[in-house]
């Protein structure tokens, strides 16, 4: 089963745990209906749609409201630290959480003590804290965009906000940034870098690239990176190895985008609706 942990931008939502489904474009968990916006709800929407096509169990969610004050994130970190050792997920995706180093490290100690770890995937705030804590190599997959890759490549930056200018200027040299991230042990075992060309890489370099279909508007649409992370997470959980799952996910996400005929004003839910068709086409 796939586990997903993250926050949603609703201050009054307590910690919710349970199977995730979708109805009428909203996410359902523990009887609550959550609209799909960018962020973890977009990731969940993509993972649910992917699971439906694959016929695999729906993901299990750990969701809490947090509008940036960190209260919900702390609650979620604590719950995971208290319960994760007893879980039995095949893959687990950590997403929009406030980057809090000491809470990350508590959870990381729990995971280290597990006899059988899930495939560990991190994106967004949790990827930031994994890097800044110095424990990035314990993760199996990070899914940064090019700007976040520059942050991973800057061994001095504790947050993308502080990425040094000379590294930001290297953004058109993605292979160099990947090499630099690995050189300083600030990358997961594999990196899925989202951009005009999507790339999968490991310590040895680029493993595969997908550059079509091209929809330039996708860069402006909030949540398109989250959908890619959701698709690859569900594919990995279905039993695909990470490399195969990444290749399928990159093609599927781009196709779903193209099917939505996007403009920079398109909202991510309009792309999520096209994931089933895009995935079926990719899988042939």
């Amino acid at each position: 089963m796939l586990g997903i942990a993250g926050t949603i931008p609703m201050e009054d939502v307590p910690l919710l745990t349970g199977r995730l489904t979708m109805a009428d474009g909203d996410i359902l968990i523990e009887g609550r209906r959550i609209p799909v916006n960018r962020g973890t709800s977009a990731l969940i929407g993509a993972a649910v749609k992917t699971s439906e096509v694959l016929g695999t169990p729906q993901p299990f969610g750990y969701i809490v409201g947090d509008i940036g004050r960190g209260v919900g994130s702390r609650h979620l970190y604590k719950h995971l630290a208290d319960t994760f050792a007893e879980s039995a997920f095949h893959a687990f995706t950590f997403h929009y959480l406030q980057p809090i180093v000491h809470w990350h490290n508590r959870l990381q100690q729990v995971i280290h003590g597990m006899e059988k770890r899930p495939v560990l995937i991190a994106d967004a705030g949790f990827m930031y804290v994994a890097k800044m804590s110095g424990h990035a190599p314990m993760y199996d997959l990070f899914t940064p965009d090019v700007g976040e890759l520059a942050f991973l490549a800057d061994e001095m930056a504790p947050h993308p906000f502080y990425t040094r200018g000379f590294i930001l200027h290297e953004e058109n040299r993605v292979p160099d940034l990947i090499a630099r991230a690995y050189e300083h042990n600030n990358a997961a075992r594999l990196l899925l870098v989202k951009g005009e060309t999507d790339r999968l890489a490991d310590r040895e370099g680029i493993l595969c690239e997908v550059d079509g279909p091209v929809e330039k508007a996708m860069e402006a649409i909030g949540g398109t990176g989250d959908t890619l992370t959701g698709i690859v997470s569900a594919l990995i959980c279905s039993g695909m190895n990470i490399k195969e799952a990444a290749a399928v996910a990159m093609k599927t996400n781009r196709r779903a985008g193209a099917y939505s005929r996007p403009t920079p004003a398109t909202q991510v839910i309009d792309i999520i609706r096209h994931i089933p068709r895009a995935l079926e086409d990719t899988l042939g």
Binding site: P9, R38, G72, A124, H159, F161, Y162, G222, P264
Partner: protein
């Protein structure tokens, strides 16, 4: 030891002016949101201040401090107390501070303009000034900011400074200011 306790100990080490900034101090706040509010209040008051990263030895990754002219310490403290956001600490600068990103990437989509600051992107419809998308970032206030800003015009949308809480929110503020500068001339 608590984070702030550690911070206080570190800040008492060294002497003012180690990096040639003997006339500058930093203000430490409990939350990034308070830094954002304090910056707004001080800039409105005409103070010469800069939002910076904390000294490297105490970084937790999500922190901002405000660099200020030490000579104005009392006046600035009075201003912030009046606003209800007094800093936890006001101390001399004793080492190099992290420089926030100051590079903007602008992409013209024809009818739309996208401005990126650090990891945050803001896209507006040129003809109307309507904010049509917010993307990037990884802190929990990003989806919150997006839901509050998308569908509203640059002129009446809440600014990230008002309702954001994190460094991603602060990055979006920079993109928002640059977009306003370009579109609301």
């Amino acid at each position: 030891m608590s984070f702030l306790g550690f911070f206080r100990d570190k800040l008492t080490q060294g002497s003012p002016g180690d990096n040639g900034n003997a006339d500058r101090g930093i203000m430490v706040f409990e939350h990034t949101g308070e830094v954002i509010q304090a910056e707004g209040a001080l800039k409105r008051g005409g103070w010469e201040i800069r939002v910076m990263g904390p000294p490297p030895e105490i970084q937790s990754g999500c922190d901002l401090v405000i660099e200020f002219p030490l000579i104005e310490r009392l006046n600035i403290l009075r201003t912030l107390e009046k606003e209800g956001i007094p800093p936890l600490q006001m101390v001399p600068v004793t080492g190099p501070l992290l420089q926030p990103v100051d590079i903007f990437h602008v992409k013209d989509f024809g009818e739309y303009l996208m401005v990126r600051a650090a990891n945050m992107k803001l896209t507006v419809e040129k003809a109307t000034g309507m904010i049509v998308n917010v993307s990037g970032g990884g802190c929990p206030d990003v989806p919150y900011l997006a839901s509050a800003m998308v569908g509203r015009s640059l002129g009446d949308a809440p600014s990230p400074r008002e309702i954001g809480h994190t460094l991603c929110g602060y990055s979006l503020q920079l993109a928002y200011e640059e977009t306003r500068r370009r579109c609301l001339v």
